[in-house]
């Protein structure tokens, strides 16, 4: 059920990913790439499909309008 899958990244993209991982405080480039994929998955999928709900974030953004609590 919780299988794994290897993705091959090489060349310039790998170098850039390594730089980002280092600058962003990630322990490894694998951890950084997993984080990026998780973020994209949560944006694409509905909450019922495993995506994360952004209701609270949206509410926070809208509260500055003054019209809502």
């Amino acid at each position: 059920m919780f299988g794994s899958h290897k993705v091959k990244i090489e060349g310039d993209l790998l170098d850039k990913a390594k730089k980002c991982a280092e600058a962003g405080g990630y322990e490894s480039v694998d951890e950084f790439i997993t984080h990026v994929v998780e973020k994209e998955v949560s944006k694409v999928l509905l909450p019922s499909e495993g995506g994360t709900t952004s209701k609270e974030l949206i509410k926070k953004r809208l509260q500055g309008l003054g019209y809502i609590e």
Partner: protein, 665 residues
């Protein structure tokens, strides 16, 4: 030819020539009056100017310039939009269409597939790693912005006809649409965090609970050896684990005896006394080394030094001298304004109403901030207006709207939030802002000439907001919404307990009521063919509601989208627009899907005036130096009026007609 005959012929020729010149002059004057390219037009957009208050202040002699314009020119009530909310109303004005044409129905829209709300006029995407917006390259961790209003803006049509124009802070124009003229975005422009305003409040007072306020953040700090060390909060940094907000440290050194402190931020140092505001302080957030930074700016207010430390920091505004998101056309225009008139709020709703509602700022402190906003606008007006030579000059003022929202309670003893002591101190706040707008008009009137048309207008009027009606609670109590069998009533998250498989209608936004439609909503159950009958049933019941406190009708009209709108987007908004009686509005929690216990409640919030009601009860104003032919002008007439002044026909889809024309609509 005999001399006498030749003289007679010359005389006749001369008379013909004179007649021709006279005719030409007359026709030129007519062309100027009816629309020619040498025409000039000034439009002052005064958000929320109310005809009842304007009449009152004119009669009291407090608005001599408006009184003069009304007496020597024309003054009408201006029919507002359905519903009368600023994003909808200004979109009506901008496009000459109603919401069916421009697609903006409320401050808040919802995605039918997820029922998640979003701000109607623009979408600010969550942080991405990098992206382009036109010629803009936003650095890592920035946000993207998308304009959601449909249809051409009137200034884009002017552009196509070569008419120069300047459009200052018109709402519902973020990010600004492509334009040849100078435009600056207004309402709808987010702060640097992608919100519509999030202040920070730093205190060592243990009774101030962290993060318990709306529209802001309370950050507990410690005073150690007279020093506070804390962080300014910037945009989320998507390259850090968990995407935490970016931070920039600052320190506050408090004088042990005097109510004075030195604040140090990124090498900048400044002194504030208690009760004093800083100027705009630029802040640069480093998102990731070597990749990119984002620039913002904020103002500090030193509220209290002793015994408790209290420091307010404004929402982090986009820096107009180096904007992180597109806020003007050309992109250099916001920097030019900064050079000419100094730094200014770029956040769309600049007045920090939430800080007042939350009690972080008191009336006096909020008023200082609100007056600064107007002072900035007047500085820019004074820099820009003298440069206006040809074409169109549009300038927007937000002050009457925001301050009528916040200070109605102090001029109306019937308001549940009325306080005689506070009223004695600031009961004239709204009046003083009206007087300042009159002063602006006083600068414009002497500049008018025979080829210049002036329009002064507002998008809607104003009314008291005494009582809240919780539409979703009413729909629940009347069987249109059903809760799940295992509903957790202690969970107040929006719609969390709703059983969508049994729910037929729901409320979202300030005036919107939606049918849970099969094929449209994610779990829709009402067949489209049955929707009209259901809407009529709900409308009849809503119009029959009486407030048990005073027996007044709570809702005085309810417009079906099918009746109210024309255009391709007519069916993409709410199915019904709920029009509240004067004094009533959708409750605070119901707007995003909350279910307070009571259907009706007193509104004791500082936000005490409103306009999101029955549109016939809150008309705006329209004044001009020319004769307005229309007896009942509407916002949708303004774009055709502007175009007609420059000899341009209205475009397909525009439903209004020039207010100076007596022709049929």
């Amino acid at each position: 030819m005999p001399k006498k005959t030749r003289s007679k012929a010359l005389l006749i020729c001369g008379l013909f020539l004179l007649a021709a010149v006279a005719l030409l002059t007359l026709s030129c004057n007519r062309a100027r009056a009816a629309g020619g390219n040498d025409a000039r037009m000034i439009v002052l957009g005064i958000d929320g100017m109310d005809p009842q208050l304007l009449d009152q202040f004119m009669q009291q002699g407090k608005m001599p310039n408006f009184a003069r314009l009304a007496a020597e020119g024309s003054y009408r009530k201006l029919t507002t939009s359905i519903p009368p909310q600023s994003p909808v109303a200004w979109s009506n004005l901008i496009t000459g269409m109603n919401a069916g044409g421009h697609g903006i129905f409320d401050f808040i829209h919802r995605d039918p597939k997820t029922l998640e709300p979003y701000f109607s006029t623009s979408r600010v995407e969550g942080p991405k790693h990098s992206f382009d917006v036109g010629s803009w390259v936003i650095p890592l961790g920035g946000s993207s912005a998308e304009q959601l209003r449909k249809g051409d803006a009137f200034w884009q049509i002017l552009d196509r006809h070569g008419i120069p124009n300047t459009i200052f802070r018109i709402p519902a124009n973020f990010p600004p649409v492509a334009a040849k003229g100078e435009t600056l975005s207004g309402m709808g422009t987010p702060d640097l965090r992608g919100t519509y305003g999030t202040f920070s409040f730093y205190t060592d007072d243990p009774s101030a609970s962290a993060e318990a306020v709306e529209g802001g953040q309370i950050l507990p700090v410690e005073v150690q050896n007279g020093r506070v060390t804390a962080n300014l909060i910037g945009p989320d940094n998507s390259f850090r684990k968990g995407s935490p907000p970016s931070r920039e440290p600052f320190t506050v050194d408090i004088d042990p005896l005097e109510p004075v402190a030195k604040i140090s931020v990124e090498g900048q140092e400044f002194i504030l006394r208690e009760g004093e505001w800083s100027k705009w302080i630029p802040v640069e957030f480093q998102l990731i080394p070597f990749f990119g930074n984002v620039k913002g700016m904020c103002r500090f207010y030193f509220k209290e030094a002793h015994p408790r430390f209290q420091l307010y920091v404004s929402p982090m505004n986009i820096d107009p001298s180096d904007p992180a998101l597109p806020i003007s056309t050309p992109s250099s225009y916001s920097r030019l304004l900064t050079d000419e008139a100094g730094e200014f709020h770029t956040q769309g709703i600049a007045e920090d109403t939430k800080a007042l509602s939350d009690g972080v700022l008191d009336d006096k402190e909020y008023l200082e901030q609100a007056r600064t906003v107007l002072a900035e606008h007047r500085r820019i007006f004074d820099a820009e207006f003298p440069k206006f030579k040809e074409g169109l000059f549009f300038f927007y003022f937000s002050s009457l709207d925001l301050n009528s929202h916040m200070f109605w309670r102090l001029m109306d003893p019937k308001h549940p939030g009325y306080d005689a002591t506070l009223a004695a101190a600031n009961g004239d706040a709204i009046e003083s802002f009206y007087e300042q707008i009159d002063q602006v008009l006083g600068e414009v009137l002497p500049k008018l000439d025979s080829r210049t048309t002036l329009l002064v207008l507002s998008d809607h009027g104003f009314a008291p907001y005494y009582r809240s009606f919780n539409l979703n609670t009413w729909l629940l109590n009347n069987g249109y919404i059903k809760f799940k069998a295992d509903a957790d009533l202690t969970n107040q998250a929006p719609f969390v307990n709703v059983d969508w498989n049994q729910t037929r209608a729901y409320g979202m936004g300030l005036n919107g009521l939606y049918i849970n439609m099969r094929g449209r909503e994610k779990s829709g159950i009402v067949d489209p063919g049955a929707a009209d009958a259901l809407l009529h049933e709900i409308r009849t019941k809503l119009l029959a509601i009486r407030d048990p406190k005073n027996q007044l009708p709570v809702i005085t009209r309810a417009d079906l989208a099918s009746e109210a709108y024309q255009g391709p987007y007519s069916r993409s908004g709410p199915d019904m627009l709920v029009g509240y009686n004067r004094g009533y509005r959708a409750g605070w929690k119901t707007i995003l899907g909350g279910f307070p216990q009571d259907e009706l409640e007193d509104n004791t919030n500082a936000w005490s005036g409103d306009h999101c009601m029955d549109y016939t009860l809150v008309p705006g104003v329209l004044l001009s130096n020319r004769k307005i032919a229309s007896d009942a002008p509407a916002l949708t007439d303004i774009a055709p009026t502007i175009l007609a002044e420059f000899g341009i026909s209205k475009t397909k889809g525009m439903i209004g007609t020039s207010v100076f024309s007596s022709g049929e609509r």
